[in-house]
Amino acid sequence: MTALLSLRGVETRIGRYHILHGVEFDVAEGGLTMLLGRNGAGKTTTLRTIMGLWRAAAGEIRFDGRDITKMETPDIARLGIAYVPESMAIFADLTVQENLVLAARAGPPDPKRLEWIFGRFEALKRFWTLPAGFLSGGQKQMLAVARAIVEPRRLLLIDEPTKGLAPAIIANMIDAFRELKDGESTLLVVEQNFAFARQLGDAVAVMDDGKVAHQGGMAAFAADSALQQHLLGMGMGEHQ
């Protein structure tokens, strides 16, 4: 399988802190790769570095064979990469509709696609004209994900999408991500919810202290509780 995204020796510093120490991993095209790791391992920093929101001080990030390490964030986005930050970063002063209109760069959002999104995240339809600041935490999360998928994108970078979501909505999110990875997109998802990670992930990269300590298939990782214990401090079985 060819890698759509690959990181080699990526070092990121934030101010005087050295956060990423040579991150290396590949994201295969057309699947879902889970990026796991303990709190503070550097998962969010890795996604922000890919997006160009932090600058890699060394190393190389390639997307579709192209070196994007030094590209500006808007140009990276225009290659077809969408980002859902951990903080969600919805525009609170804009309505749900306006949030999605802005995210659709090519023109007004496609009605069919909107219906598909509403089918997964019904609240967005209900609160279409409400300023997004009035949404609940879970609804903001839905909006943040919807913003990333309102148009087809080649690669989705999603940071902890299930945070604060009710189980029924998590199930909808799983359906949505499945359809996306089986169709048009490749996904790189940071996740703390292991049941979710295990159900959806094809591949896994586990970070520890600013490096990727393990990369491989999800099935093998899910079966190896000693490795989970070592890298995450817990077995996945305990958390289903």
């Binding site: 929101l53 930050p85 970063a89 002063d93 804009l94 306006e98 802005l102 009035f134």
Partner: protein, 324 residues
């Protein structure tokens, strides 16, 4: 839908509170119109500044330069067209004012572009340097104005059609103030429509909240910022031209003087909020006029007091912008 209307109520509350203190209804109307006119002129000058701060956290202490340049350019054009200014025809008067205002807007806008490129761009993200560099820019601009237009103040008088007052019974309303109110409301409506109904406007509002996310959606926020900076400078030039005609004198210090009011207004309104800036400007204009009438000795400090009171109520200003 929950919208926050409380700050808007402050305007009628302030007006009604002043009515018994002023005593005569006629004087109250005159003062109120004067306050609204002053407030709207300040709003025109302040609207761009609050947006540039909101978009890129840029503290531009040089904003007064655009106000001053607008005033000088407009004054020069009007002096050159003096015969039309003094003609007893509204149309000839307008034929002088129109080009004067246009020239002020264009020159200030272009200057804004240059200012952004040369002074502001190298210090993005560095607040202390921004303050130093833009203050330096203001000082240089003031000196250049003296070099170009001479150190004396320029006296200009309003055109014939805009002198005097409308009389309604015993109420006198100065014509020029009515014009200032109309222009101010038109600018406000134009900005509100742009911000709420156009894609560029949506991008600006989104960028004020979270510029990083706007970039992650694939838009170049710097380009947006440069555009807003230029439009904000042009509006400052428009306000400066109007202010000069209001005072009927123009000096190189005009920019720095008015800029103090402009800063008070954008702090009261909440940095980054055009709606807040609008309400803040009206409050400042009204307060200055009521207090100027009731207690001229304390008029100078009244706006600072107003700002302090509002910040006690809402420490981030009337409409704090949700950041990140």
């Amino acid at each position: 839908m929950k919208r926050d209307w409380l700050p808007l109520l402050l305007i009628p509350v302030l007006g009604l509170a002043a009515l018994p203190l002023v005593g005569s209804a006629a004087s109250w109307v005159t003062l109120t119109v004067a306050g609204l006119a002053m407030g709207l002129m300040i709003f025109i000058m302040a609207s761009g500044l609050t947006l540039t701060f909101g978009l890129m956290d840029v503290l531009n202490f040089g904003h007064g330069a655009f106000i001053a340049v607008g005033a000088f350019v407009a004054a020069s054009v009007m002096l050159a067209l003096a015969p039309w200014m003094t003609a007893d025809s509204l149309w000839l008067n307008l034929a002088a004012i129109g080009p004067a205002v246009l020239a002020a807007v264009v020159v200030s806008g272009l200057l804004g572009l240059a200012f952004e490129r040369v002074l502001v761009r190298p210090v993005y993200g560095q607040h202390l340097k921004q303050i130093l560099v833009t203050t330096g820019g203001l000082i240089v601009a003031e000196q250049l104005l003296k070099v170009i237009w001479g150190p004396e103040q320029i006296t200009l008088s309003r055109p014939t059609a805009l002198r005097g007052a409308f009389l309604l019974g015993d109420i006198a309303i100065e014509k020029y103030r009515v014009l200032a109110v109309v222009v101010g409301l038109v600018v406000f409506a134009g900005l509100a429509l742009t911000l709420n109904r156009t894609r560029i406007g949506l991008l600006i509002r989104a960028g004020v909240e979270n510029g990083e996310m706007v970039e992650a959606l694939g838009y170049r926020i710097r380009r947006l910022f440069v555009g807003v900076f230029a439009v904000g400078s042009a509006l400052a030039g428009l306000g400066g031209a109007m202010w000069g005609l209001y005072q009927e004198t123009v000096t190189a210090a005009i920019g720095a003087q008015v800029a103090v009011l402009v800063f008070i207004v954008i702090i009261i309104g909440g940095l980054g909020s055009v709606g807040g800036c609008f309400i803040g400007a009206l409050l400042v204009g009204l307060t200055a006029n009521y207090i100027g009438f009731l207690a001229p000795k304390v008029a100078l400090g009244s706006n600072i007091l107003l700002m302090a009171l509002i910040l006690l109520w809402r420490p981030q200003g009337l409409y704090p912008v949700a950041k990140r």
